[in-house]
């Protein structure tokens, strides 16, 4: 549906995006995460046509967007920091967005406005950050777009509205739409995304499904035992060893797990627990590597 091929963006000497490539398919939610200043917004702005790539191509439905300028009509976008026209009401902005996209379903509009609990009769300059976001979100959902791009969509929303948003995303997925979700709320990305790409310093450092990503990180094991495990502590495959009321905590690289488990056989364990790595752990690993 949407393909980025070796996309780069240079601002003078600063290389904000370096050789970024990924593909989005219909019916999937693609998580796009990275530290602040990594190049997420720049990449997104190239996709929506606000910036001209320095190198590389963007293909929409296998056609280069430079030749097919109308691709933007099939994209719905929610910006990271929503600013609206102060003297217009929320309703007027939503109506404009609908008219611009040629979308005419008033029932759906009323339903969404109610779901998101937005008072559309107030002027945008009186809206809080969350309400402005709601306007942008509702406007995005009221379209026949094929690709939906969300940049930090839920930062100002309360948990109830966050859930409404999540439900709408699943709705989109079920209708075979494509969603590009850029968010710092890793639990949200982990919950919704089918595939994830991690960008840092302008480059994609990792991409794949959660399962793929889990393989390249460390797994946490929690052991309870009365034995002296000094020998275990100092093994080279043990990382971040600590001890608390739950027992001994240690992190093992995926590749080393067979060796670790063999090692454990020599001990009398009272309990052995493991948790699959959270996206946060994966993310922090890359973030810490940078330091």
């Amino acid at each position: 549906m949407l393909e980025l091929v070796n996309l780069s963006k240079h601002f003078g000497k600063v290389k904000a995006v370096k050789d970024v490539s990924f593909t989005l398919y219909p019916g999937e939610v693609f998580g796009f995460i990275g530290p602040n200043g990594a190049g997420k917004s720049t990449t997104i702005r190239m996709i929506i046509g606000a910036l001209e790539p320095t190198k590389g191509d963007i293909l929409f439905n296998d056609k280069n967007i430079k030749e097919n300028k109308n691709y933007i009509e099939k994209i719905a976008y929610v910006p990271g920091d929503v600013n609206l026209w102060g003297n217009l009401t929320g309703g007027e902005v939503i109506d404009f967005m609908m008219a611009a996209k040629g979308y005419h379903n008033d029932d759906r509009k009323a339903a969404l406005i109610e779901r998101f609990r937005l008072d559309i009769h107030k002027k945008c300059k009186t809206y809080s950050k969350g309400n402005k976001q709601k306007v942008a979100l509702i406007s995005a959902f009221l379209s026949d777009a094929d690709v939906f791009i969300f940049d930090e969509p839920t930062t100002g929303l309360d948990p109830l509205m966050e859930r409404v948003f999540h439900e709408e995303i699943i709705n989109l997925k079920n209708n075979n739409k494509t969603v590009l979700l850029s968010s710092h709320i890793l639990s949200e990305v982990e919950k919704l995304a089918d595939r994830i790409a991690i960008i840092r310093d302008g480059k994609i450092i990792e991409a794949g499904t959660m399962n793929d990503l889990r393989h390249i990180t460390r797994v946490e094991y929690i052991i309870e035992t009365d034995d002296n495990i000094d020998a275990l502590k100092h093994q080279k495959f043990i990382h971040d060893f600590s001890s608390d009321s739950d027992g001994y905590h240690m992190f093992i690289d995926n590749n080393d797990i067979p060796q670790f488990l063999r090692y454990l056989k020599i001990y009398n364990l009272k309990s052995l627990k493991t948790t699959p790595p959270k996206l946060e752990d994966i993310f922090m690993r890359y973030y810490e590597d940078a330091k």
Binding site: R45, I48, E52, K69, P79, W85, N87, A99, A100, K101
Partner: protein
């Protein structure tokens, strides 16, 4: 709804208000002039009054032919109104152009499928529609006024002149908005062009009008709206608008959104800021410096014509008689003293107004909550802004006077002494403190009321400007602090008036202080 209607709706009220005020002023003048200068003799007297370098600098050269009411109206109002129409257009254009882009709105619109070409065309179209409205209102309004000589062609020339002038600055702002990355810079530069062209013309009109040709203000003078030989030819140079339109179009199309063609990327040096006193200074530094320097230059340009003033009035028996023995030169210098004080009040009000920006953005509450022992309280911030307002006002005024003094230092026969300048400074600074007091009082009562101090300032300006030309009803003048102060340098300094006016200013500030501690922050 289209993008065009979207941005139109957003500025609807603002535009309505400006149109009401600007066209209202233009339309109210012809009858006033006609009533007060009903006879040809009176008008001839007025013509003589304005036939001197100081007035030529202010309103342009005397048009040929009879000085009828309409001719007088166009001659005296066109250039001043042009400045305001220019300002109006700059504000609207910057708002929908670079400012909207800075806020990410233009990018947002782009994602709805609106094409770049539509965006820039809509912006330009909005400028055209607004100025067509200006033209229409003025023509129709003028036609309806029952004053002899307000012919249709004349009215058209007046209205077209102002609307084309306004449109030029609208499109210029859009073009500058393409070049520069910040909305503030764009506004500052276009405003500078607006005022610089006026000042340039002021100087060249006095020296040799052939040099004035570069300035659009001069084109307006040369149209001679109601004269015998009105020349629509002088509307032609405004076709520069077409060039500017093409320029904005091309520049917008080619660039990345959010960027400009001139990107200024200076690395700022680290500063140690540990008090609001210093913070407020740093935030207002550029504003204060530029106005102080600007006003010094204004002072210089005023002072440079003192020499000619003296000559012209000295030689003219009729003018001498008109002033009934009073010194005409001194009269004009007094007018300049007053106008300079009013202009110096502008940066003062801007600096005081910054308090409201701190309030609205939430930074005021943040500072208040973040500091120990209430170190940066509402009172602190309020007083500091008031202090800097007075500082920049008085300093700017001082430098205007210094400029006038330096430029006229070699003029012989001028009865203006250094002491007169000092008296002027003290006298009219009192008026400034008063107006700043009004500003602080309004801030204290309710943030949104502050706009009225600008209306008040404009009112005082108009009243003094018109008051010098026509016999305005005294009651209008009573609302201005200048009424109560003596007319330096014509009269001596009235110390009591100075003390009272200044004290009133301070008292108003104090009342505002009490109010602000009680009211809800916005």
């Amino acid at each position: 709804m289209t993008y065009f209607r979207l941005i139109g709706r957003n500025v609807r009220f603002q535009v309505f208000l400006w149109l009401l005020i600007l066209c209202g002023i233009s339309l109210s003048i012809p009858s006033v002039f006609n009533t007060l200068y009903g006879t040809e003799e009176e008008r001839l007297g007025m013509k003589m009054t304005v036939d001197n370098p100081a007035m030529v600098a202010l309103i342009g050269p005397i048009p040929e032919g009879d000085y009828t009411s309409p001719v007088m109206f166009a001659h005296q109002m066109l250039l001043i109104m042009a400045i305001f129409h220019g300002l109006f257009n700059i504000l609207i254009a910057n708002g929908i152009g670079r400012k909207a882009e800075e806020e990410g709105l233009t990018e947002y619109i782009l994602t709805t499928g609106t094409k770049k070409s539509t965006i820039i065309s809509s912006q330009i179209m909005l400028g055209i529609i607004i100025n067509i409205l200006v033209c229409f209102i003025l023509v129709v309004g003028l036609q309806l006024i029952n004053v002899e000589g307000l012919s249709l062609p004349g009215n058209l020339y007046y209205a077209l002149g102002l609307s084309l002038f306004g449109l030029s600055f609208f499109v210029l702002t859009l073009s500058f908005g393409q070049l520069f990355q910040s909305a503030d810079l764009t506004f500052g530069l276009t405003l500078t062009v607006l005022l610089a062209l006026y000042l340039y013309r002021a100087m060249t009109d006095v020296v040799d009008t052939r040099f004035s040709v570069i300035s659009p203000y001069h084109w307006l003078s040369r149209i001679e709206a109601y004269g015998i030989e009105s020349s629509g030819l002088w509307l032609m140079p405004f076709s520069i608008v077409i060039l500017l339109v093409a320029l904005s179009y091309v520049l917008f199309y080619k660039r990345d959104l959010g960027s400009g063609y001139f990107n200024i990327d200076k690395k700022p040096k680290e500063r140690k800021i540990s008090s609001y006193f210093r913070l407020a200074f740093i935030n207002s530094k550029v504003l204060m410096m530029s106005w102080i320097v600007g006003l010094f230059i204004v002072g210089l340009s005023y002072g440079s014509i003192f020499g000619d003033l003296d000559q012209v009035i000295g030689q003219n028996d009729m003018l001498k008689a008109a002033f009934e023995g009073q010194d005409g030169t001194m009269f004009f210098i007094n007018l300049l003293f007053i106008i300079s004080a009013l202009i110096a009040t502008v940066p003062a009000l801007m600096v005081n107004g910054r308090f409201l920006i701190e309030e609205k953005s939430g930074r005021l509450e943040m500072m208040n909550a973040a500091t120990l022992n209430n170190r940066i309280s509402l009172t602190t911030a309020y007083l500091i802004h008031w202090f800097y307002a007075n500082l920049v006002g008085i300093l700017s005024y001082l430098l205007t006077l210094v400029g006038m003094y330096l430029a006229s230092i070699n003029v012989t026969g001028l009865e203006l002494t250094e002491v007169d300048y000092i008296k002027g400074l003290i006298n009219y600074s009192a008026a400034m403190v008063f107006i700043i007091g009004v500003s602080s009082l309004l801030i204290g009562i309710y943030a949104r009321l502050h706009i009225f101090v600008w209306i008040y300032l404009a009112y005082i300006f108009l009243v003094n400007y018109l008051g010098s030309l026509i016999d305005l009803n005294e009651n209008f003048l009573k609302l201005s602090p200048f009424y109560y102060l003596s007319d330096v340098p014509i009269e001596g300094l009235d110390e009591l008036a100075v003390v009272i006016v200044t004290s009133l200013g301070i008292v108003m500030m104090l009342i505002g202080l009490i109010c602000i501690r009680k009211r809800n922050l916005l």
